[in-house]
Amino acid sequence: MQLLNILIRLLFIGVLFWGCGSNKEVSNSKEVAFYYWKSRCQIRDDFLYPLYIKVLDISQKSIIKTKCPKREFTPVVYIDNHALKNRDDIAQIIFKTIPKNTKEIQVDCDWTKSTQKKYFALLKEIKKRYKRVTATIRLHQLKYQTQTGVPPVDGGVLMFYNMSDFLDPDTQNYILDLDEAKKYLRGFKSYPLELDLALPIYSMATVFRYNRVVSLIDGITTNMLDNRFKKLSNGRYKVLKTHYFYNRLLYEGDEIRVDEVSIKKLREVLKLIPFKYNRVIFFRYSNLNKELLKNSHLFKFINFIKNN
């Protein structure tokens, strides 16, 4: 645990070092930023990378506001599709929460054909108030852009993760499945918006009981599994004994799927991206996959991005 803390600390210091150094040496290099997605904002003061912080989580029944830190960041608003369908006060909530002089605001919504009209109208309204508005784009929205439309904003961020159905017992890796990703990118010609790239650096375990998802455990990697788990042929692990595992109760017979990413896979992602991008935003600052910190893998990868 102590070693892990040192590694995390190293990330922030290392990040600082590489961040400043590379910016000076390489002009027009790519920027690296991080998403912060928790409702309670706990960010270290020495973390100086640009941050995209989810400040508002708007669902049909609730609005969760995150108290913002005293530092520069880009506010992100998450809007649930049900909220989009049923609420008429979304713009007002945003205007009340995010000051008018904010340089950029990002909106995250997995809009569909049925919510497209309302979502785009909302974006237009937001656009009138803020200087720069960007929106997240899912892979399916990139592939089926004629059906889902292109949001009327200044730029987009392609979310290159969560590309499979996590409830599906046959899903191999919910966070990053390159075969699945290739299907979405096949035949890609262009996208009318300038796009940045969001890459995953988190991990989690999905718990199945009698083939149904019963819970998720954040931050789990395969290295954390011990002899109370047995590897199965489909990439899943069977729980051999009822026990508590990272605060969760698992039962004998349960199965878990560990969804994680490796630097090797992330490098492969960069090769797959068929468009130019200026910024990579890592999802996410909190609960990141601690395996990525070992041997400075993540530092090296950040440097690689910045210089390529």
Partner: protein, 701 residues
């Protein structure tokens, strides 16, 4: 703490619930429940903590609400007895801030005022807890009596807790002397929470388990705040238990968490102490869940309504049966095994207990019915009801019987309809679908059933809803409407003439029951306008009676002179307007759902079309022809909607978005294209120039 649990629960709900349709909050409120709960205490049966919830967040609200009620009641009892006033008076001064004039004892009154003043510092948001603490600390120094001391102490505990001063909070509580006040339950709950905050999860889990098992006014806190995170903690907790009963209680708390496996917990608990009350309680809960799933499998509704897979449902019941086979001892287990083998595998296993044996025999009797013998079924049902007198099972027995009978009565009969609706009578049945589905045959049968003198038990049950038991005025109204819909206007008038006189202003119709007892129109049903019905009118233009008298007059004129242009036009307009697409559909529709195409009322559109076409043949008047062509275009649109609504199961009307598709389809229709071309030949007319700016016409374009 609860907040964190809730967020997790909400997430899981979000994850798995994908339907918006009505579901019972608790499984034992579902259609059929044949699991006798006589081994449970009455208060246990009502207790929402011992019931399985479909949607955990709804259950949380209900559970809190249930305990808040008890909490308030017990608190008021203490206040009323201490202040020597009624509970109502105590309620107004304690909970509603009414001046405490009712308190006759001057000393107590002064104490009460001081206490309330300090309590006023606690706001819904942004409470200054330091100030609250100071204020109550000063009150406790004034040496209050036992009653106030406990309450003041409770507020000091609250303040410490909200200030995060858990050590001080615990030390303060431990320095107090416990009494019999209900307030002590709340103090104990705070203490368990403070211990949890200090990081001693095992002790706090033990205390929360005790709170869950023993507290009258806030037991739900015991469940929601029971928290164990590691095997070491769990093992330490088990060791803390004074006996196996307590150990099974800890397992019970894990079992009712929707993230955990109640079936495995039941297995573990049975191994520890099969006779524990917690095993019985959990067995009852699991049995209810398995029962719900077994009936869901039978109904086939699992995928559409509950997003459940057949194999999941089967898996659950199979595993429960495995458990029952491994643990067959005791009459309850014996019954459950026999019951589930029957409803799931249709296998009859003999049981000793005669009461439950009869219950299973009755269920099998209903299942075996091939035809309706109301007298026999009435007798058998009454006999079994007698055996289960006072039990909730009676309702399920009636529902089960009625559902079966609804499949045996002739289709389109009123008895098939009523027995089909019976299982909804005690829930959210508002009769709207029942009324919408009425036709003349069913209405005649309903009236005959209502008037029948010696109704059997089944018939009495069928009519046991105020929504079904129509009064004479409504019967007259429905006859008038249904005869109008069928074009039998004279018959309709015979009923309409006895209906109440409509008022002058439309707004007056909303007084009392008038809106459901009469039908009126704000428009002239013999006129067709090119603009939409914007409902800005205030005066009632036509009563049902007036409409019928007028249309009968037109009918007579047409009999005398079938080629009268004006009468053919008026008849066409009248028929068009009483359809769902016209301005006065209320004259021919019992219950109008604006999202559904009323198939029964489409006939009038087709009748109107014939009259309009006749007008075209009879007249050379270009203005009139324009009007008629426009009406025919509107009819072609109505027909297109009808055609498309047939494709959907519920005969839904298209949404605005789908209307675009309908208009596209319409434009491919040859008959429509010819009509549209014809209409364009009349571009020089005044009427055309009026309609060309109308929104609907632009769609036709």
């Amino acid at each position: 703490m609860i907040r964190i649990v809730l967020i997790n629960l909400l997430f899981i709900v979000e994850l798995f619930s994908c339907t918006t349709f009505w579901q019972p909050t608790y499984i034992n409120e579902a259609d059929f429940n044949f699991i006798d709960n006589s081994f449970l205490k009455k208060e246990d049966i009502k207790n929402p903590l011992y019931r399985y919830a479909h949607i955990p967040s709804w259950a949380y609200d209900k559970r809190v609400e249930y305990y808040q009620k008890i909490k308030k009641e017990l608190n008021l009892q203490e206040w009323s007895s201490y202040l020597n006033i009624s509970k109502d008076k105590a309620n107004s001064i304690v909970y509603k801030d009414t001046p405490p004039t009712a308190i006759k004892n001057q000393k107590k009154k002064e104490k009460f005022i001081a206490y309330k003043r300090a309590l006023g510092l606690i706001k819904d948001y942004d409470t200054n807890w330091k100030e609250v603490l100071k204020s109550f600390q000063s009150l406790i120094k004034q040496n209050p009596d036992r009653f106030f001391k406990t309450r003041i102490a409770y507020n000091i505990v609250r303040a410490y807790h909200n200030l995060g001063e858990f050590d001080k909070e615990i030390a303060f509580i431990d320095s107090l002397q416990k009494d019999n006040s209900i307030v002590w339950e709340w103090i104990e709950s705070y203490r368990a929470g403070a211990i949890q905050h200090r990081g001693d999860l095992v002790t706090s889990a033990y205390l929360f388990a005790q709170i869950f098992a023993t507290h009258k006014s806030d037991a739900y806190i015991g469940y929601y705040d029971f928290k164990i995170k590691t095997d070491q903690e769990w093992n330490r907790l088990l060791k803390m238990a004074k006996n196996t009963q307590e150990q099974t209680l800890f397992h019970f708390l894990r079992a009712i968490n929707p993230k955990n496996s109640e079936l495995l917990e039941l297995k573990y608990m049975t191994q520890i102490n099969p006779n524990s009350i917690w095993v019985k309680r959990l067995l009852y809960l699991v049995a209810q869940k398995a029962q719900f799933r077994a009936f869901l499998l039978k109904s086939g509704d699992y995928q559409d309504y509950y997003n459940l897979e057949k194999k999941d449902l089967e898996n659950y019941i199979d595993r429960f049966l495995e458990y029952l086979k491994a643990n067959p001892n005791g009459s309850f287990n014996e019954y459950l095994l026999s019951y589930f083998e029957y409803i799931y595998h249709h296998k009859k296993i003999p049981i000793k207990d005669s009461k439950h044996k009869k219950l299973l025999e009755y269920i099998a009797f209903v299942d075996s019915l091939k035809g309706v013998d109301e007298n026999l079924v009435s007798k058998r049902l009454k006999d079994i009801e007698e055996i289960f007198k006072g039990s909730d099972i009676i309702k399920s027995l009636q529902k089960y019987t009625m559902v079966k009978l609804s499949t045996l009565y002739p289709q389109n009969s009123i008895k098939a309809t009523l027995s089909g609706y019976f299982k909804e009578y005690d829930r959210f049945f508002d009769g709207a679908d029942f009324r919408a589905g009425l036709n003349l045959k069913k209405l005649n049968e309903l009236v005959a059933l209502k008037d029948k003198r010696d109704k059997n038990y089944i018939e009495k049950l069928m009519l046991n809803s105020k929504e079904i038991n129509l009064n004479q005025n409504l019967i007259n109204l429905y006859y008038a409407v249904l005869y109008t819909r069928d074009g039998r206007f004279q018959k309709a008038l015979n009923y309409a003439k006895d209906l109440p006189m409509p008022p002058k202003y439309y707004s007056d119709i909303y007084d009392g029951d008038k809106s459901s007892s009469m039908r009126v129109s704000l428009y002239n049903p013999f006129n067709v306008s090119f603009s939409g019905n914007n409902r800005s009118e205030k005066y009632i233009k036509y009563s049902h009676k007036k409409f019928l008298k007028t249309i009968i007059k037109i009918q007579k004129e047409l009999q005398k002179n079938p080629n009268s242009v004006m009468d053919n036009l008026l008849m066409a307009n009248g028929l068009y307007n009483i359809s769902d697409f016209g301005n006065s559909p209320m004259f021919a529709t019992i219950y109008r759902d604006t999202t559904i195409v009323n198939r029964n009322n489409l006939n009038n559109i087709h009748k109107a079309e014939k009259f309009y076409k006749k007008v075209l043949k009879l007249t050379d008047n270009r203005e009139l022809k324009t009007k008629v062509y426009y009406q025919l275009l509107k009819i072609s649109l109505a027909k297109e909607i009808e055609k498309n609504s047939k494709k959907t199961q519920y005969y839904r009307k298209p949404t605005f978005k789908e209307m675009d598709t309908i208009f596209e389809l319409l434009k491919r229709d040859t008959e429509y294209s010819q009509l549209y071309k014809k209409l364009l030949e009349y571009q020089d007319t005044k009427y055309f120039n009026k309609i060309k700016n109308c929104a609907t016409f632009k769609y036709f374009n």
